[in-house]
Amino acid sequence: MEFDWSEGDASHREEVRAFLSEELPDDWEEISKDGPGGDRQAAFSKHFCGRMAERGWLTQHWPSEYGGRDATSWRHAIVGEEMWAIGEPRGAQYMNVNWIGPAIMQYGTEEQKAFHLPRISAGGVLWCQGFSEPEAGSDLVALRTQALRVGDEYVINGSKIWTSYCNHAEFIILLVRTDPQSTRHRGISVLLVAMDTPGIEIREIPSVVGERYFHEVFFTDVHVPTSALLGDENQGWGVVSYALQYERAGAARYARAAVTLDRLAEIARERGLLDDPMVVDRLGEARALCEAARVLSYKVIDLRAKGSPPTADTQLARVLGTTCDTAIGTLALELMGPEALEYGSFADANFRLAMTAGVAVGATEVQLNLIASRFLGLPKE
């Protein structure tokens, strides 16, 4: 059997928990109520990530040359589980350390690496991700935002949508079409753009899942130097695919779901609902789902720990994580009866969050297509 938490892993988890109980203020629940995009949590995350960085934990799984400690993926996964379980005090920075940094490591110039990686590793910088567009959701390659090369600059025009956290972000990792004649996967590039570049405007899209969750970002004649290019021009699809593989298994949603489920069970117990076998059965089913999602995520981490390239297992873990979130959100709503309807209540908040599960990271439909084709050899339409 190849997997088990080592002694060191177990004690690392204890260390992380101790650190969390020390660092999180008493009003953490209040601070984190509006999610990572909320002003308070965003501000807190800069302080918090700085503290993590001091311990060397923020990017411990990175190579030491880039500010890491060469720790195993398991160690980093432990941090991820503990952070998610408690409401992600790293705020949006989980994106930096999980996939934006690694993408820069893989494709960046020496200059880009030297500039960006220490900043990410130190915990003081926020990034956002400019991939989706109004006409390009799950189908990212339908993107229209253009960056035309003019001399040693790119001039960007277009817009992005559903951009989380960008109100607080210093940088955006931006997907653009650099060859205006191209279609689909060809002619796409990735740019690393400072959010204070003139011509960038942000509009918040009010969402049901908390403050500052979604935004539109408009680019009007935004000039950036060609040195902002990550990877080769027109070869950006490779860069984004690399990043997405990390993104899709990045969030330990099952850890959050398991904690939610525990609280739900506790509430059910207080209300005497556990006398109802139906309630117990549903809780049991939900628990099995959480554990199933966890164990599939561990497969992905295991591959990563061995340095193997990501496989379609990532999709499995992702779909099951979503299923799990949705199931628990729905269960919360059903168990709490009319009480669940109170805005901001435990059940309400979890239900709203669960609604985003299938939306946030690529449509489940696309992932099921992939699984049908890779695991079952089914033909594509």
Partner: protein, 323 residues
């Protein structure tokens, strides 16, 4: 089952009223608001009065109205009002039917429209009581965008005709839910026809189309069941209706209302799941096309009479069938 001309006229008139006075932006803007001028305008059309015994109209008229209102997710204490009109004495009905007095009907302590309510009805099992607040009403913002309140109630007089009141309000909720669900499905289908991904409208993908079709089936059936329950309710007033299940202890209209509610609740909630999948991120914006509909469905689906009452009645109804 089709409405007769008079009932259809009610549905058409209300659809027009909603188009004129209660479009999506209005619904969104009214979220969390107390029943106001719009509620009284609706009442002045005589829509609420149709739910009072002995008035012009009857359950089928209420059903026709609720279908139109549900399709527009018209806000307000509709369900509680129909309950009240059946259980309160004649002299109290006018002020309610006119929209002057607001009814809060529920199991407590969390009560719908409580901050604005002039009158509280407590539903306990199959009984309905008058109730009086024994303290202040603490306003509660809800998932569904209805202004609720938490309030301690003292139980008063046991009211008559609870079985008719509950059945009428359940049927009304069923008609509203089925219509709101169908409208959500129609909007999602429209989105699926126009939204392109991977070079195709997403409605071409069976993963999108089939769940929508499945919702449509269940919602249409729920609509029919609500109409059928309304018919049975009206029938129960007359002797010339056949009632082949009359041997049962429980009146047919009660079972029919319960069945309609169970069916509408399940199918409308399922429609919110499916349609939010179809709308994707659009669905979770407050400006978007789905949230103001799905939150109302969620709210109405959680309202009393809840599962306990349903369960008791199911136990009574279980032997119904055709025999």
């Amino acid at each position: 089952m089709a409405f007769d001309d008079g009932q259809q006229a009610i549905a058409d008139a209300l659809a027009q009223f909603c188009a004129d006075r209660c479009d999506d932006d209005t619904v969104k803007a009214l979220a969390g608001q107390a029943p106001g001028p719009l509620w009284r305008e609706l009442a002045e059309l005589g829509v609420l009065a149709a739910g009072a015994p002995g008035e012009e109209g009857g359950a089928l008229e209420v059903c026709a109205a609720m279908e139109a209102l549900g399709a527009a997710v018209f806000p307000g204490p509709l369900v509680g009002t129909f309950l009240a009109l059946q259980v309160l004495p004649a002299e109290e009905r006018d002020a309610i039917a006119d929209g002057r007095r607001i009814v809060s009907a529920g199991r407590g302590p969390l009560m719908p429209f409580a901050p604005q309510a002039d009158l509280f009805l407590e539903i306990a099992g199959e009984s309905v009581y008058r109730a009086t607040p024994t303290g202040p009403v603490e306003a509660v913002e809800t998932l569904g965008g209805e202004p609720w309140g938490r309030v301690a109630l003292e139980r008063g007089e046991l009211l008559p005709h609870a079985e008719r009141g509950l059945a009428l309000s359940e049927m009304a909720a069923a008609a509203y839910l089925a219509a709101a669900g169908a409208r959500l499905v129609a909007d999602a289908a429209e989105h699926a026809r126009t939204r392109q991904q991977f070079g195709h409208p997403i409605g071409e993908f069976q993963a999108v189309a089939h769940p929508l079709a499945d919702c449509q089936i269940h919602l249409l059936a729920s609509r029919e069941l609500a109409r059928s329950a309304a018919y049975d309710f009206d029938c129960s007033d007359h002797s010339d209706c056949s009632d082949y299940s009359s041997e049962n202890e429980i009146p047919k209209f009660q079972n029919a209302a319960l069945i309609a509610r169970l069916s509408a609740r399940a199918s409308a909630v399922e429609a919110t799941h499916v349609c939010h999948q179809v709308f994707g991120a659009l669905g979770i914006t407050t400006e978007g096309p789905a949230w103001h509909v799905s939150r109302r469905i969620r709210q109405l689906a959680s309202q009393p009479p809840g599962p306990e009452v349903a369960r008791e009645r199911i136990l009574g109804a279980i032997g119904l069938g055709l025999t």
